[in-house]
């Protein structure tokens, strides 16, 4: 900054670049400055890729269990064994012994045998994206009758926590997206009507929004979720919950849209467009909408984490998604049992995933909000 200020030529160069840059370029330059937002974008992309390809990435089927490995301890990846350093990671097998005093099953890692991790192995069969059957997994143990691999530990039924968290990512992260998409439709239509027509329509809609916002969300969601018929299929429950979540959250977006509409109506360029003979629809779609899309994207990004948190909370209470479906909230339900948590703290892993996802969305949203107004300061 100080260098370019001292050099008038460089400064002029930079200014010219700014003058000729498109709106989106300016926003990208601004967004780039927010380092946390950049890192968070990368994290989110990884999360969504993990959710999208969970069948391939997860070493096991999320429902495969091993009754002899209840709360199995994590098998750490190792590179240094008896034969020294090896590039191929390996794990020690779990052996279970019964403690004759407490009569409890205790697990130990057996360092005498090394089980190498192999890549692109054939494991539990699955239907990839429901399209074609395969049994290829990115990594796993490939031995005859190989036991299950517990990289981060096993749960209360001896299922692999890592695989379940990966499958949970698909459900938990997509509820956020679908729910926000639905509230976007509500928000744009209702907020647009409110802001465009104004007058009595506007007052009425604003009253309804205020009323909806004054009802405490979670008790309301609980009531709605309890109203879902219990004989619905998991998929229908999943969509039902998403609809319920978006029923309340459209209000925030509607407010943003209305506020933008009201502010833009008075702008000079809108007046100019009208004077040039642009029709109502053309003014709205070609001149007004593009200038608030960026704001809209920012507030969308900021409302996704709330959606994820709400889904998680509902499922955690047992009112949201139900067990055959694997979501982070459903997984955390198992962590409600205090005693199990003390023995198996790795049951918190889905919680950690939630925290990272929510934080990342917040940072990206913050960065986008700053970038949405590239001319500020």
């Amino acid at each position: 900054m100080s260098k370019s200020q001292n050099n008038p030529l460089a400064r002029q160069d930079k200014q010219e670049k700014i003058y000729t840059a498109t709106q989106w370029q300016l926003m990208w330059w601004r967004f780039r400055k927010h380092k946390l937002a950049l890192i968070s974008t990368a994290v989110l992309i990884l999360f969504y890729l993990g959710g999208a390809f969970c069948e391939f990435l997860a070493p096991h089927d999320p429902h495969r269990y091993d009754v002899k490995r209840v709360y199995a301890p994590p098998q750490a990846l190792r590179f240094v064994g008896e034969s020294g350093f090896r590039l191929r990671p390996f794990v020690y097998p779990i052996v279970s012994t019964r403690n004759m005093e407490t009569l409890r099953v205790e697990y130990k890692l057996d360092p005498s045998r090394e089980m190498p991790i192999r890549f692109f192995v054939h494991g539990d069969p699955y239907k990839f994206w429901g399209l074609w059957e395969t049994d290829l997994h990115l990594f796993g143990l490939q031995e005859e009758n190989s036991p299950m691999l517990f990289l981060v530990g096993g749960d209360d039924m001896g299922r692999d926590v890592l695989s379940r968290v990966l499958y949970g990512a698909r459900i938990s992260l997509s509820t956020g997206l679908i729910g926000v998409a639905m509230s976007l439709v509500f928000g744009i239509v209702i907020g647009g009507v409110s802001g465009y027509f104004g007058g009595i329509t506007d007052t009425l809609i604003q009253r309804v929004i205020e009323f909806l916002r004054s009802i405490p969300g979670i008790p309301l969601w609980m009531t709605l979720a309890a109203a879902l018929p219990r004989d619905w299929t998991p998929i229908r429950i999943y969509f039902g919950i998403t609809v319920i979540l978006s029923l309340l959250s459209w209000t925030g977006l509607a407010r943003v849209v209305r506020g933008r509409f009201l502010a833009l109506r008075e702008e000079d360029f809108v007046l100019a467009a009208r004077l040039c003979g642009a029709g109502e629809m053309r003014t709205i779609l070609y001149h007004m909408v593009p200038s608030f899309t960026s704001h809209l994207i920012a507030s969308l990004t900021l409302s996704i984490p709330n959606m994820i948190l709400s889904e998680t909370s509902l499922s955690f209470l047992g009112l949201g998604l139900q067990p055959p479906i694997v979501s982070w909230g459903v997984l955390l339900q198992a962590a409600q049992n205090l005693r199990s948590i003390v023995h198996a703290p790795w049951m918190f892993l889905p919680g950690l995933a939630i925290v990272f996802a929510v934080l990342a969305f917040n940072f990206v949203g913050d960065g986008l909000r700053d970038a949405a107004d590239p001319y500020a300061r």
Partner: protein
């Protein structure tokens, strides 16, 4: 001011009616009614389902009447007799069950609000006056993390820490010895020893949000010319900051009652289930699951009324503090 008050109070009445109507519709939503649950339970335990008993229950609870009659009966009894109906699962009048729990919800929510203010106010002003200092970055970071962790996760983690490092459970509001004891100084101390857990759990998110808003507000005010004038006139830094910018930036603290309160009441519902607190949460959950409609409906309605009351209070306070709002209406 009087006109403003009147307007607000008049708006309050239709809001209450709307709340009661929405609540009633909501508790009617689940397919079947409480009798379905009874039949299911009887069938589960292998008992005969007595048609005469069912018919008697149906008339007793007015379940055979059309919807609007049920609603009018329900709301009429509440307004005229303070009678919230009958909890079918607990076999007691709803009003016996809800008041104590609502009181605890209120106590916990309001003490959390006070704690939130007590922490957010100094921190926000420090952050604004020391923008981009290490302290500011630290608070910003803590704030973001506080906003990102779901409430019940914090509760679970605190419980886990309490259990595995200190060897005791931190759920509930009283220790075993005091739960049934009458009020005494020792019981109060015991309450305080338990109360901090829900306060910390609930307060984190709200404090983080309030700090960010207030910080931004103070920063905006500090950039305004009148602050420069004050400084140019030779006012001490202390006076130049506290006399006007901070006072103007106080608005979010008052208006926060309006939007932090629904959040707190919402949040406490989940927390209470996790920490087994004697608030509305656990009872509401069980009432919803067993379709005990009058109990669930009364809770939902009273919680909404509480939040609307809170918003009303904050609006009045805001108008009292800030003449711009009072005079614009």
């Amino acid at each position: 001011m009087l006109k403003f008050l009147l307007r607000r109070l008049l708006l309050f009445i239709p809001t209450l009616l709307a709340i009661s109507l929405v609540t009633f519709l909501l508790i009617q939503l689940p397919p079947g009614d409480y009798l379905t649950t009874i039949i299911y339970q009887l069938e589960e335990s292998g008992e005969e389902v007595d048609e005469a008993l069912l018919a008697a229950l149906r008339t007793r609870y007015g379940l055979d009447q059309p919807m609007y009659v049920q609603y009018l009966r329900w709301i009429g009894n509440i307004i005229l007799h303070g009678d919230f109906g009958y909890s079918m699962a607990h076999n007691r009048p709803v009003s016996d069950l809800i008041w104590e729990r609502l009181m605890w919800t209120l106590i916990i929510s309001f003490s959390t609000l006070l704690v939130t203010w007590a922490i957010a106010f100094p921190v926000a002003i420090y952050s604004a006056t020391h923008q981009y200092s290490p302290g500011d970055y630290l608070f910003t970071f803590v704030g973001f993390v506080g906003r990102g962790i779901p409430n019940f996760m914090i509760a679970l983690i605190l419980m886990w820490i309490g259990f595995s490092f200190f060897g005791f459970g931190i759920g509930g509001l009283f220790s075993e010895d005091f739960r049934r004891a009458s009020w005494s100084w020792a019981k109060f101390i015991d309450l305080l020893q338990h109360l901090w857990v829900p306060l910390v759990v609930l307060g984190t998110g709200g404090t983080a949000g309030l700090i960010r808003i207030t910080r931004a507000n103070v920063l905006d005010e500090l950039r305004k010319p009148y602050v420069i004038t004050a400084r140019a006139k030779g006012l001490t830094e202390r006076k130049a900051i506290w006399k006007y910018p901070v006072r103007v930036a106080l608005n979010p603290f008052i208006s926060s009652v309006g939007y932090v309160l629904p959040g707190l009441i919402s949040g406490s519902t989940i927390i209470s289930v996790v920490l087994s607190l004697p608030t509305t949460g656990p009872l509401l959950l069980s009432a919803l699951l067993s379709q005990d409609m009058y109990l669930a409906g009364s809770f939902l309605m009273m919680l909404s009324v509480l939040t609307v009351l809170g918003t009303l209070l904050s609006d009045i306070l805001l108008a009292w503090v800030d003449p711009r709002i009072r005079l614009s209406v």
